[in-house]
Symmetry: C2
Subunit: 292 residues, 2 copies
């Protein structure tokens, strides 16, 4: 076929994908072409608008680096990341709910012993985090617990070019009883980075860029599904209008106010501090059925 | 709202765009969110598939440079560019049909006098191209005629890092009678670049990357719509399965075989050469209505 109109071109493009060897990829490409063409037919972009879209996607790719993932941020702000999350994570009873990864996760954070202070002296109200990891009600020993969060000004370490080392970011392992604890400082609400294409989009559409205060966790253990989630600080601003739609009720916790005195690990505190307890439930990975 | 399921999240995201000041942008964002979410609900990507899509888009952005536009190539190979073309260019009688820009256009090509040879001695069968530019049947003098095409091995100049200067690429201006002519060499069919993400996609889906032989033209003149098109070589391979869906019957021409002898501009040809004539019709730009 050589003469396409706005209707038959979609069938012509689909035809080219008919020999895709992998059936899942074929299904994805068919769906992508159909939905993408429907979108284009719906908005009828001018050549200039199409050209602006090409330039926007190009700038978004150029903005990505080892410490900045602008396409994840775009997926987050368009609600795509949370949609993928809810489609995949219909969690069983007792398991912790999931939420978005976000653009600031860094592979292989520093491996620290339980009880360590990941703030490395950076300013902020001290926060003691303790909890446990279990699966089906049984403690999970040696679970890998990655934690990362913003500082008291709302920045992640990777957003501070002056920092030479990881900060407010670490990997812990649960003890034999599945327990963990460590020190850090209170996270704060913050704007997602607005100096790139996602910031342009938010500004042009009069959307605010703020996220409510939270601590990220990624927990993995043998035989369990990996858990990517946040714990949100109760009563903070933006819980009802998170720029990336990531808040779930079950993930909001009181970060308790504690007076000066002795902390649970014996540390002497001469200033008021905060305390969070969160018990994480993992989902056991499906076993292959035993041979009949 | 804090608890999203796979259905209500779309409405929640749309709500955030309700204060978009520009009504056209608001319409585009609403349509984008609806179609993007429909696509995601349809394929239910796993976290790994989502993550692969993010990485794919990122690689596509990174591949773009001053001389390579991988997102245009992706738009072309998904049939989006031609869909945008047909939606925008329902041309009036007498006007030349449009087709895709392609990824190899370079701004401000060398400005050459009529009759120049743009091949600069590069190997290939000599080709004499002549024609005219008119609008509503009247010749258009001083029209800007950008031309670019592949060499006899199927490469554009920007794909040959050893070339220091533009080659098979120039800007001409029509004479007082709207006419133009110049020398070049025959273009050939070629694969679109397959060393990037678009190549990965074509390979994974068992699609061939070939385009039938063609010469690109972009013609602009005062008071007229700019015309972006190709002229395709009749009887060549891939006219029926162009990798970017850009062929239109009205753009296919015989590139006549000519014996050695004297060419129309008096040049003595001691080898067989080819000759293309194409008369371009521009579309007059709509005038503002005179005051009543």
């Amino acid at each position: 076929m050589r003469e396409f109109n706005e209707h038959n071109i979609t069938e012509a493009v689909l035809e080219r994908y008919q020999n895709t060897p992998d059936p899942r990829l074929k299904q994805i490409m068919y769906s992508l072409v159909r939905h993408l063409h429907d979108f284009v037919r719906d908005v009828e972009p001018t050549f200039e608008e199409w050209s602006n879209a090409i330039a926007y996607l190009t700038r978004t790719g150029k903005m990505c680096s080892d410490t900045r993932q602008e396409f994840i941020l775009l997926s987050d702000t368009l609600g795509v990341s949370m949609l993928v999350d809810v489609l995949n994570h219909r969690v069983p009873k007792g398991a912790t709910e999931t939420t978005v990864l976000g653009p600031f996760y860094v592979q292989n954070p520093p491996d620290l012993p339980l009880g360590a202070d990941i703030s490395q002296g950076v300013e902020g109200q001290p926060l003691y985090i303790e909890g446990s990891v279990s699966a089906d009600g049984r403690p999970v020993a040696n679970a890998e617990i990655d934690v990362w969060h913003s500082d008291s000004e709302g920045f992640y370490d990777v957003q501070r070019p002056e920092l030479q080392e990881a900060n407010l970011r670490a990997r812990f392992h649960s003890d034999s009883g599945g327990r963990f604890h460590f020190w850090t400082i209170m996270p704060t609400m913050y704007p997602i980075p607005t100096d790139g294409p996602v910031g342009e989009m938010l500004e042009a559409t009069a959307r605010h860029p703020y996220r409510p205060a939270h601590v990220h966790f990624m927990i993995s253990a043998e035989g369990c599904e990996s858990l990517t989630t946040h714990v949100f600080v109760k009563d903070g601003p933006y819980l009802d209008s998170d720029a990336v739609f990531a808040v779930k009720e079950s993930l909001i916790r009181e970060f308790e106010q504690e007076p000066p005195g002795t902390a649970p690990d014996g540390r002497k505190m001469d200033v008021p501090w905060r305390r969070l307890r969160f018990d994480f439930g993992l989902t056991q990975r499906a076993q292959s059925a035993p041979a009949a």
